[in-house]
Amino acid sequence: MDRVPLKLNIAGLSKADYAGNPSTLCKGCGHNSIANQLVQVAYELNLRPQEIIKLSGIGCSSKSPAYFLGMSHGFNSLHGRMPSLGTGALQANHTLRAIGVSGDGDTGSIGLGQFKHMVRRNVRMVYIVENNGVYGLTKGQFSATAEYKHELKYAGRNDFPPIDICMEALVAGAGFVARSFAGDAKQVRELVKAALSFRGLAVLDIISPCVAFNDEDDSRHSYAYGRANEKALQELGFIAPQEEIIIDDYDPGTVQVVELHDGSRLTLRKLEADYDASDRLGAMARLQKADEAGELLTGLVYYDDSRPSLAEVSGFGATPLAGLSDEQLRPSRESLTTLMHGYA
């Protein structure tokens, strides 16, 4: 379908119109898969690129907004500071819709404070964490979401328990919390679509395996791997081209085991169809149980749209602050005269 360039959506755009620049990330990186799904979703939802802004912090994940929606304004900001930049931008223009892309280091470490405060403020944004548990650009350190006692060649053993992005979002008061896997294109698209229609901050923690550095056997899902291949991956200057991991759709309530590039396995458990996403404590319990079982829970973990967004709390009218006329921006001459009398 997307090979037919002239097939236009209701917005009058082809899928190619939603593309960005070519990706400079590693071949097979899960982040590329997510960027592709964002293009697809924008096309399917007939989004107008002019109404979207793309925001990110720093890291591999944060480069990706350049790789989708090329006709939308975007800002690749500072490490861990996308939330504040996004908050300001969306207060300035609350008629825009925002897609924020962050990583596990960007959100879980340097930006944890800004992330949680953005959740508290319920800024209207789709906040995607492309989570791979490792620092890619600096060649393979653990991130705060790395699994407890996980071992990597460069970083050694991780002696500290991970930060669970979904749990942090729940604790901070998020109304939309979801988890998915980059290779599960259908689920990613569904969740992104739902997130785009949410009134406040929607957190999507998307497990997106790093093809280059998170390349060790997972201690919990141990799987012997070809020695020759392993050696090649140890060369930091050489990143073997990999295929994107795409998984088949799996049913709600069932488990899907995914083999990663290094041969390790990831166990995904899709939330069952009758799962009650409105129970916050229940959601925390499920996340905790899944963690204990060595599974990654996927799907919409929590949903509650009762809390107004920051823009709604601010009580803005139809015109965004960035669209006010000079007359609206500068109070009248008379008002200043009156005010001055009060200080005489």
Binding site: Q50, P83, L85, G88, G113, G317, R330, P331
Partner: protein, 625 residues
């Protein structure tokens, strides 16, 4: 003018009168509500038409530590800090020290309930029986403590000759007409005033008389004035994190914005967000600036440190932002409630790499207001952060000023292309089309599909595309240097007040002006003439070098240790570097005219020196009377 000038006009008991020309200090404990009492006195003098200024010298504390409020009245209009002749001693903890610091002939109004064991016989003492006076006052426990300070208002009013009607007027101003509060305070003032009238014999020379020198003037703090300027500059988003002494800037915004910035249905056309820290505060400001709203933050040194990374990003990605730094004493937490000009060097270059910022240097409430809106015009015009460097003294204290003039020019929103303009002109985000280093930008939401660009702190080409190519990096950085040269022609110029063949030339900025300008008048009386140049912004314009070139040497007076602006000027004007002598003060207190006079007289007697010396440690020079 002092004692001598009054002789002709007054007789008998007032022959030693010192009228409308003295300083007083009120010593209390922090958190006892003395601010209301002090501001009542300040406002009363102002309402009597006497030029006046108050300085709060307070601790970093909520309750209990000593605080001093200095009030200076001056019929000549001089309002720099001057050592007080009159003391209101209401703090047991500092009583001995406060009394000891008075000059001979000084006056001590003190709470009689405190133990005062001074053997000084060269002072006039007025003990006030505070407990006794409050015995019959009908207010409840805690309020009684607050209201106790009103006793010294009543006694001082009597001693100096301030009418009760004036006090009432001042209280009405302070409490915004809330009669209950006015009445409860006024009853104590009356009580104390009546007691003083019947029980005290005035034997000191200090008093006030009505004048007409504050007619048409206003009184306001620098932070209020700056905030008001921001509002008239169209600031629509304020993001901040509380820090002394900048908090009252945002408090003022939160007072003015709801009154002045609402839409047709009464909805707010502004947003004030209290951020989780200063990193987030400046992040929000930069985000709003990128999206096209005028945005401002206010902070002080420690906060500015945290904002460094975002300021570098905004400089490089070329995003408008306005930041008010109400300077306090650093480094580190430093003296958080004392004043300083210690952030100048950091502010000018904050950010790593070759970062340079536009810095505005207000000296008065009028300039706080004017720079309040000018900062936003400059930020939009130059697409860069503009840092306004006020200080604690200016920001938190009440100053007289002329009513603010409405901006004479429309808002300057800079080179922002509409969808139609993108169609007609084309759009390259970082291409220097006009040769002034300032490129064109578009805002998110622009309907033209060709309008989108991707902001980033990474290397980019003229189309804002990621680039690591050396020529792109160099070209872009050199264009930013061209833009900074353009900024030199746009920022507020230096104010030059030159005397031909002057004995000494002084360069200065900000609140040091009050001491320097008073010193100039005093030195003129002694036959010494000064030429003055007050800087109002960085980068400097051509007039600055020209002024320095006309003088064999200039003293550059500032309130930091190393002469930060001296270093900036020497760097900017290498051929004139040896002419610039740093003269610095770093005790956290606003300058006095006496200190300036001493420094000038010292300089007159020493050869030109290019080295930085701490002149304060030098031997004292007699100041002729």
């Amino acid at each position: 003018m002092g004692v001598g000038h009054e002789l002709g006009r007054h007789h008998s008991e007032w022959e030693r009168s010192v009228v409308n020309d003295f300083s007083m200090v009120v010593a209390t404990a922090n958190g006892t509500g003395s601010q209301t009492a002090n501001l009542t006195l300040l406002r009363s003098f102002f309402k009597m038409g006497i030029p006046v200024h108050g300085k709060n010298i307070f601790p970093s504390n909520i309750q209990g530590l000593p605080t001093w409020y200095h009030i200076r009245v001056s019929h000549e209009g001089y309002i720099s800090r001057k050592p007080p002749e009159m003391l209101v001693a209401f703090n047991a903890a500092t009583l001995a020290e406060d009394v000891a610091s008075l000059p001979a002939g000084g006056v001590c109004v003190h709470n009689a309930d405190l133990r005062l064991s001074s053997d000084r016989t060269d002072l006039t003492y007025y003990p006030v029986p505070v407990k006794e006076l409050l015995k019959d006052v009908d207010v409840k426990g805690k309020i009684k403590e607050y209201i106790a300070n009103m006793t010294y208002v009543g006694v001082v009013a009597h001693l100096l000759g301030v009418s009760l009607a004036t006090i009432e007027e001042a209280l009405a101003h302070h409490f915004g007409g809330r009669q209950k509060l006015i009445d409860s305070n006024l009853q104590v003032v009356r009580l104390a005033h009546e007691w003083a009238r019947t029980s005290l014999e005035k034997t000191d020379p200090y008093r006030v008389e009505p004048l007409d020198k504050t007619d048409g003037l206003i009184m306001m703090t620098g932070n209020e004035a700056g905030a008001l300027g921001a509002v008239y500059g169209g600031a629509s988003l304020a993001a901040w994190y509380p820090i002394t002494p900048s908090t009252s800037f945002i408090d003022a915004l939160r007072e003015f914005l709801p009154r002045l910035r609402t839409g047709p249905a009464g909805e707010p056309t502004y947003s004030v967000v209290q951020a989780e820290d200063e990193l987030a505060a400046i992040g929000m400001v930069v985000g709003a600036g990128w999206a096209g709203a005028r945005a401002v933050t206010a902070t002080s040194g420690p906060g500015l440190s945290l904002m460094a990374e975002f300021l570098g990003l905004a400089y490089f990605a070329e995003v408008p932002a306005v930041l008010w730094d109400i300077q306090r004493v650093g480094p580190s937490t430093g003296l958080p409630t004392r004043t300083s000009q210690g952030d100048v060097a950091f502010a000018y270059g904050v950010g790593h790499g070759d970062t340079k910022h536009v810095v505005l240097l207000p000296s008065s409430i009028e300039e706080c207001f004017e720079f309040g809106y000018t900062a936003h015009d400059l930020a939009d015009t130059l697409q860069t952060p503009v840092l306004v460097l006020s200080d604690l003294d200016l920001g938190m204290n009440n100053w007289m000023g002329r009513p603010f003039e409405y901006p004479s020019e429309p808002l300057k929103r800079g080179k922002v292309l509409s969808a139609e303009q993108v169609e007609g002109l084309g759009f390259q985000r970082y291409k220097d089309v006009d040769g002034d280093g300032i490129t064109y930008r578009t805002l998110p939401g622009n309907e033209n599909p060709a309008a989108a660009w991707f902001g980033r702190g990474t290397g980019h080409d003229e189309n804002a595309r990621y680039s690591e190519r050396s020529e792109h990096w160099e070209g872009n950085m050199n264009r930013l240097a061209v833009k900074f040269r353009t900024a030199r022609t746009l920022v507020p110029g230096a104010i030059i007040d030159e005397t031909p063949d002057s004995d000494v030339a002084i360069v200065y900025y900000g609140t040091t002006r009050y001491a320097i300008e008073e010193a100039r008048a005093r030195l003129a009386d002694m036959g010494l003439s000064l030429s003055l140049m007050r800087l109002r912004a960085l980068p400097i314009g051509e007039e600055v070098g020209a002024f320095i070139a006309r003088h064999p040497r200039v003293m550059l007076i500032e309130m930091n240790r190393d002469g930060q602006l001296t270093a900036i000027l020497r760097d900017d004007l290498p051929e004139l570097a040896a002419r610039i002598d740093p003269v610095t003060s770093l005790d956290g207190m606003p300058l006095t005219a006496e200190w300036v006079i001493e420094r000038v007289l010292e300089r007159r007697q020493t050869p030109v020196s290019g080295t930085i010396t701490d002149l304060r440690s030098g031997s004292g020079v007699e100041v002729p009377n």
